[in-house]
Amino acid sequence: MGVLFTRSLGAQVVLPAKQWVLVVPRSRTGTAVPPVEAPRRILLRAGERRARRFPAAATEDCRSGERRACAVWRRGAVMAAADSAGTAGAEDGAGTGADGPGAGEVPPPLPGLQLVQQGAEARVYRGSFLGRPAVAKLRIPKLYRHPALEERLGRRRAAQEARSLLRCRRAGIPAPAVYFVDSVSNCIYLEDIVGAIAVQDHIYAVQRSGGDASSLLGLAERMGQLLARMHDEDLIHGDLTTSNVLLRPPAEQLDLVLIDFGLSFISGLPEDKGVDLYVLEKAFLSTHPDTETVFQALLQSYAAASKKSGPVIKRLDEVRLRGRKRSMIG
């Protein structure tokens, strides 16, 4: 069997039927390069680049050519380790659901610990911290991410949340107090607003018991004022929904508290503020049907209370025209 070498990359082979032959890839100069070396060389280069940027990950063995499916391989190893840590955590009696400990972190050892909520980003536990009712927010590690990135991102998000809460407090915007930031597990411990209900639940209750009376308009006005003050401080919440605003009892006093600043950031741009309001509008109108007047009242109160509201409202109108199934005219 002869093998024909041509100038082009690869080789043209004259074969009898059903015979496997090694196809030798060629480099540009025409010299044969054994196939198993070429892919490994490229991978090592990527590994070197990554190792320079994230030195902790340099010792990982998964960069060799045979273990190219290293994401799956690595995830398997991490999941195995996490499962053993998770079962230990379950024995602590955290009382979480079936999928709770499986994601691989131990709930904080607070007395009276109970799982309150599980969002996409974090798990919220209630307990007592140094004698006071507190809430512990433990970030759920996303195992599909590279561990170094995951650690960095978790730390940055926890730090951003803590700093935004401090900024709110300085500006007089009601938000929970930060009790402790655990930089190792990226968990923050906040003041628990005892007895408060989410505005979402409040609106459901009001709608179920009768029409949206003036109480909802008063609520909308108060919310508009609060958001105006927040945006005047150039603080963007990032995840404004009616379940992220709490109402302290008694409900008539309209004592609102903003929570969940995990996606917040600092920005003075009307674009970011407009998008923040758009997120709230979408969440509001989709969760609570027939409340367009309430949201209008919120926007009016916002426009009246904020000094920089003109460009923001204009931007909000522009943002509304974007997005899916919108005609881009004008």
């Binding site: 911290f129 140094l130 809460l165 300085r170 007089g172 107090a177 930060v178 402790f180 190792v184």
Partner: protein, 174 residues
């Protein structure tokens, strides 16, 4: 008379607070503290509005000690440094540590749960009267606290002075 509170996140440790009034040997105590011959951190009670403030600072200090990221050299120094809103260690000692002519002293000890602490031993070194921590609010200089922590008037509308202080302690250098 004294207050002891376990640290939930560090199950083997607990924090004990002792308050002394009408203290005469503040200068000698300060010298002893600098040498390290007295157990515990010596804090000026005029700067403390509530024992919770000290507990939060101590909790953070124990956490940093555990992961080896303390800014000062000892745990007691770290507690005093954590109380301060800025990152200057000597300034923290000047404002929150005791000075030579103080008449009241707050001693904070972080102890392991199993080890029994000799409180009489410490009390005997202080020439003053040990009082209950319920008297702490009378010793607090609220105006000075507001000035040092830079508490804004709008902050006081949404929460207590203690909440504002705790936020600053826990989010400093985060």
């Amino acid at each position: 008379m004294h207050l002891t509170h376990p640290l939930e996140l560090f199950p083997e440790r607990s924090v004990t607070l002792l308050l002394f009034n009408r203290v005469r040997n503040a200068a000698a105590l300060r010298k002893k503290a600098m040498e390290g011959s007295i157990e515990g951190a010596l804090i000026n009670p005029a700067m403390i509005v509530d024992p919770f403030q000290v507990l939060v600072a101590a909790n953070k200090a124990v956490h940093l000690h555990k992961i080896g990221k303390m800014k000062t050299r000892t745990l007691n120094a770290e507690i005093i440094f954590n109380l301060s809103p800025n990152n200057n260690i000597s300034d923290a000692f000047k404002k929150f540590g005791i000075s030579d002519n103080d008449t009241a002293v707050l001693i904070v000890l972080v102890v392991d749960r199993e080890k029994t602490v000799n409180l009489e031993d410490i009390a005997s070194q202080v020439e003053g009267q040990q009082v209950s921590l319920d008297e702490l609010p009378q010793l607090t200089d609220i105006a000075k606290v507001k000035k040092i922590y830079k508490i804004t008037p709008q902050e006081e509308k949404i929460g207590t002075l203690l909440d504002g202080i705790i936020c600053r302690i826990s989010t400093k250098d985060v």
